[in-house]
Symmetry: D2
Subunit: 138 residues, 4 copies
Amino acid sequence: MKRAKPTQFRVKYSHCDQMGLVYHVNHLEYFEWARSDWLRQNLRSYAEIEAEGYYLVMTEANLKYLKPAHYEDILEVSVKPIYWGNSRIDFDYSIMRIDDNANICIGVTRHCFTNKGGKPISMPSDLKQLLTSKPSEC
Amino acid sequence: MKRAKPTQFRVKYSHCDQMGLVYHVNHLEYFEWARSDWLRQNLRSYAEIEAEGYYLVMTEANLKYLKPAHYEDILEVSVKPIYWGNSRIDFDYSIMRIDDNANICIGVTRHCFTNKGGKPISMPSDLKQLLTSKPSEC
Amino acid sequence: MKRAKPTQFRVKYSHCDQMGLVYHVNHLEYFEWARSDWLRQNLRSYAEIEAEGYYLVMTEANLKYLKPAHYEDILEVSVKPIYWGNSRIDFDYSIMRIDDNANICIGVTRHCFTNKGGKPISMPSDLKQLLTSKPSEC
Amino acid sequence: MKRAKPTQFRVKYSHCDQMGLVYHVNHLEYFEWARSDWLRQNLRSYAEIEAEGYYLVMTEANLKYLKPAHYEDILEVSVKPIYWGNSRIDFDYSIMRIDDNANICIGVTRHCFTNKGGKPISMPSDLKQLLTSKPSEC
């Protein structure tokens, strides 16, 4: 498992609320942007995984908001898997502002692989293999 | 403190993802819809509170997703304050589907009152009074 | 075809931008909330229509923003079909603020019924029948 | 006025609806991503312009949806100003998919510069100057 290149983007106008801060719901969406990038870089795109019949359903999300972010800030989201079972996987995230290295938000999400009908199933075998291979630097 | 009338709404098309489920980020937004309704019913609108110079900034969010919700489901969100300090307040939420009483999602959010500059300040005194009054059925 | 009860809702915090106005993208989403309500009241829910294999794809949208709306405003969206062909249908919208009867936004959207593969198909026959029946007050 | 580098991004999961297509509201948001990039590349960030007291309010939007886009598509949005007056400016957009050069969506938006109170005001003088300078290739 290689260390994925962190996701970087500039905060959109639509992501800011009338306090002039990134609206708190978007941080949870930013986590997904990073999770998608991690999957694409380490395995294949989630679009392909879904087409194979695996649905990665979120079962839990925990976020701590540390500092506010603003319109036009360049943010970087790091992500890594921290725990997994047969059908379950947990990811850990950190959102940082590039300009001043400020820690904006940290969090953890828990997911379960299901089939289209919503029944838990084993994760794709190559993902399992990737996770259990000795991580060089994940 | 009276028990606020729970927030009810029909799931929008835009809230569903390509799995055909309510996209997990929206549950956190639904929490806010209920929190706003609670404030308006128990105190006054958050718009007025913000105009008075109080900003209710989110510092933590925790969600557990129990069952998927779908387009056109009628959902009900209940909310109540469960802990508070001088400038801090925690809310507890439950999202239920009206049709079959299914528990869709539960969660807790933590907030801090700040001034416009982001400095923690004491919450509005009438909110403090409301919270510390003997709750009849909150 | 009966006159559908207009869609009413309170503007959400998440819908406002850092100018303190409803962000312009949301008006287009509000149109859909009204279109969904119109379908449900006049025919059946779009969820059912989609389950029958009809996809109502947007091909054109035109919006005029007349007055800004703000957080906690109660808005009402009216909608009516104004033109239709075999697979095509145009809707006309008006967003009004309840409090002062201000006209917030007007617009028109054009849609095409397609099958799941994206090929244009005839609209559901009962919708066609509804549209061509003498409108009492649409 | 230089030709701005077009905005490129990968379609997010949250932008797709249960038809598996980019939900039509997002195209209007994509226009803004490109408009912001154009301003930053040609003048300065809209954040700074807003801090100087200029608000760029949308007064009209017109979109034509030509082909559907999907999750993980890499899209490119081009934008250029096509008409302007004292306080008004129109932008023209085109969204293209990188992979197959498919034209996804075209559109035009009209804006008015206002002060914080919503009154129309002249646009920043350096923007006026930029627009009226002989465009090399805008």
